[in-house]
């Protein structure tokens, strides 16, 4: 990148927060996505919305691309600059601006870490449900841009269900406000949902207003052991069919259990095929009933052991252990390729079978865990990037898994976004007209194509 351009960036955010040395660029050339790296030309860390606007205007005029970045935990290559442009990180934009207890909303800057918002609102007996596995690191801006889901998605939905208002700086530096604190709003096109899950390609969020709900009064955390994988899957479908909606219904297979246990030592069983982590929350009387129903169903589907957490610590440990699933899997082999195949919930059992078959056919190790209640599975292939043949086989296995997922009426990504990683699958899913409409929208927001190019399509 031209030194004169870097100088101009420096005049906006200062030297300390404009990085262009080789070493810094190298560490902003990756995110949590395996196998993908791409060096930016510079990294800037703005401190205000005004900074963001000035930087975008500058880059827009110069035709330099800008890629937003939160904590870089996304799994689709979304925060990497593909053409050596500017990466703009939000970590200094990290203030919780307001918790409005009358309107039940919170307004934050994009760099606020998800769990920090949880702590803040829960201290006031309020609740912000979206809780991605990465919530201790991921930022609210990243969550909105990826429409992140979480362990509580089954009952409470995903980030999109909570975003009420956005302050977005457009590619040319102009400010766009959409939505706000009003619960009902049908004026014009709904731009909020469009911006949510736009993966940094339509605008740069500088303010986010989310909906809060009262904190559930009680919670029961349970763990069911299944000696046979398919039984666990059938139990998931049966729980949903029984009209019990747990807050959390997470699935871990044998490979995952072993790794998580190795790391977290929470007493997971090592001799079963799968476990379900189930949480029901709400009014104490209701959850007692729901917990009993869940236990009943798990027993019917031959669970070998059913455990109810005795206290908050135990419950917290179990849930926290689940959050480490992905990273814990990486203990086995250096390169973990995680996928995000999602199917209608009734198809969980056949999908798990397909995954197992694909693993066997291509001779790769796949550990699977996921938000079973949402039909969102994370088959994770454990490979070694130094073994090119193995990597090739892993990708072949995934191609097959995705074909089946689409055929079942599912999707190629339930929560991680398309980014660079899933680009090639998107046309298969949305068709030509889908891509055409999306391109048109992009054109309307960002005619010069400077915002996070190379992503989605």
């Amino acid at each position: 990148m031209e030194p004169s351009f870097i100088k101009e960036l420096q005049t906006i955010v200062g030297e300390q927060y404009t990085l262009s040395d080789r070493e810094s660029l190298a560490v902003y050339g990756y995110d949590s996505t395996p196998e993908i790296e791409s060096l930016p030309g510079a990294v800037v860390l703005p401190a205000t919305a005004e900074d963001v606007s000035r930087i975008l205007r500058l880059c827009h005029d110069a035709g330099v691309s800008v890629t937003p970045r939160g904590s870089g935990t996304n799994l689709s290559g979304g925060s990497l600059s593909v053409n050596a442009g500017v990466v703009m990180q939000t970590s200094r934009l990290n203030r919780i601006i307001e918790v409005d207890e009358e309107n039940l909303t919170a307004t934050v800057e994009p760099g606020v870490v998800t769990s920090a918002l949880h702590r803040e609102v829960e201290s006031r007996s309020l609740f912000y449900p979206p809780d991605p596995g990465s919530m201790n690191i991921s930022t609210m801006g990243g969550n909105v841009a990826e429409n992140s889901g979480g362990l509580r998605g089954l009952k409470y939905g995903v980030t999109a269900d909570y975003v009420m208002g956005l302050e977005t700086v457009l590619a040319n530096g102009d400010l766009l406000r959409t939505g706000g604190k009003v619960v009902k709003d049908v004026a014009g096109y709904s731009l909020n949902p469009l911006l949510v899950s736009s993966e940094g390609t339509l605008g740069f969020f500088t303010g986010i207003t989310v909906k809060l709900i009262p904190k559930p009064q009680g919670k029961i955390t349970m763990l069911a052991h299944f000696p046979v994988l398919q039984d666990a899957a059938l139990a998931v479908s049966a729980i949903i069919a029984a009209k019990v909606i747990p807050a959390t219904l997470e699935f871990l297979d044998k490979v995952t259990i072993k790794c998580v246990e190795d790391y977290a030592h929470v007493g997971l069983p090592l001799n079963v095929d799968a476990v379900l982590l189930i949480e029901v929350d709400g009014h104490p009387a209701v959850i007692a009933e729901e917990a009993a129903a869940v236990a009943e169903i798990c027993k019917k589907y031959r669970c070998s052991f059913f455990q109810t957490a005795q206290n908050a610590d135990e419950a917290l440990n179990l849930a926290a252990a689940r959050r480490t699933a992905l990273s814990a899997l990486a203990r086995l082999k250096p390169t973990t390729i995680l996928e995000d195949a999602t199917v209608p919930r009734s198809c969980i059992a056949p999908m798990l079978k397909v995954i197992q078959e694909a693993a066997a056919k291509y001779n790769v190790t796949i550990g699977t865990f996921g938000h079973a209640g949402d039909g969102n599975l994370h088959p994770t292939c454990l490979t070694d990037e130094r073994d090119q043949d193995e990597i090739r086989r892993a990708h072949a296995a995934f191609a097959e898994i995705f074909d089946v997922a689409i055929a079942m009426g599912g999707t190629i990504t339930g929560e991680h976004g398309v980014g660079i990683a899933k680009k090639k699958y998107l046309p298969r899913l949305v068709g030509e007209s889908g891509i055409r409409v999306m391109r048109g929208i992009k054109q309307a927001f960002d005619p010069k194509g400077i915002l996070n190019p190379g992503k989605v399509f």
């Binding site: 990085l19 040395d21 080789r22 070493e23 810094s24 190298a26 560490v27 902003y28 990756y30 995110d31 949590s32 395996p34 860390l45 904590s71 870089g72 935990t73 990180q89 970590s91 200094r92 870490v113 990465s134 201790n136 690191i137 790391y263 977290a264 480490t324 992905l326 990273s327 814990a328 990486a330 203990r331 250096p334 390169t335 973990t336 990037e385 130094r386």
Partner: protein, 413 residues
Amino acid sequence: MDYVKLINCMRCGMCLPACPTYKETFLETASPRGRVALVRKLQEGELDQSERLLEYLSLCLDCQACASACPCGVNAGELVAEFTCERKGEAGLGFMENLILRKLVPHPDRLEASMAPMRVYQRSGLQKLVRRLGVLKMFPKPLERMEGLLPALPSRPLRQTIQEVTPARGTERGTVGFFLGCVMSLIFSEASRATIQLLSLLGYRVITPRDQVCCGAPNMLGGDLEGLKEAARTNVELFGGFDVDYIVTDCGGCGAELKKYGHHLDGDAAAEFSGKVRDISQILALHAGELRQLLKPLGRRVTYHDPCHIAHCQGIRQEPRQLLKLIPGLDYRELNEADACCGSAGTYNIQRPEMADKVLQRKVDNIRRTGADCLVTANPGCLIQLKKALAADAQPVRVAHITELLLESFMVK
């Protein structure tokens, strides 16, 4: 360096919120994930050993909070330390390093003698004068900081005054070897005296071999792997000569290093030595029941700071808290971010004062917020750093080693 350890990092970022330098800078270069990447890219030839790269790496406190946070078992801090050690080793020891690491540290007598002028300096009133006149401003910065940090020294190091064998009180239940540790003996001799007394009270015969040498941790920092092994050999051989059930230390840093002797040296003797090493809180926690009978009320508001070398390197978190809660009448208050580094980190607070001060300030704020009037910890580096920081304000918070407070509770009339 083991390449596999580097590629095991899957860049999930789970370590980011644990890292004190990331929390202060928000920069990927100052995060565990970034540090692993820098070392890896260096190994792969994508980056070279530039001044800037070394500068980035040197900002790591080696607090190993990242290791506790990493579900993949990667230890960024240790990888950086290993890399730095290798690099320094290749460059060869400089004159000063050689002097300090080979001629001074391994020889307790000389080390103790070297502190003598400081003691005279403190006692003679010269210190007060010097501080008042700001004479030190004329000397290099690190010296000034070092002078400012040092608490009042005891009149003689513990090693010179303690008997080699302290008998058990009452019925003897076993024998332990006590590992003195340089800084504990030189500066916090009273705390170590309390450690020995508690052990004796619980029925242990305590052997404190006078010929023991420094654990070797400074050698590792200085890139002197040979010196470290030499220290390890000496200590293993020496303690091997006594028939002890445990080797006890009240210095977190020494404990962490002693537990690694089995890796540093081949042979069963070193592994056996490491297998016997216990932090004092581990031993005391074994006897919680008896201690409960012995301890008398202390009306204090107390909080506990986890030294990195105890929490992250040795995985000891419960025992110290359990012990403090045994003291009747004590109002225990948990510290926010209790296991975050205090910024002392060996000689880091002297070499990287700016970052060290930021990390320290965060710790101090957290401590103040508990409203405690006494902070307990268990590592000399933390004691030095926090004593200085917490004495300064209008409302001084007492800083004590855990054995000091326990003994105090025992001594209450």
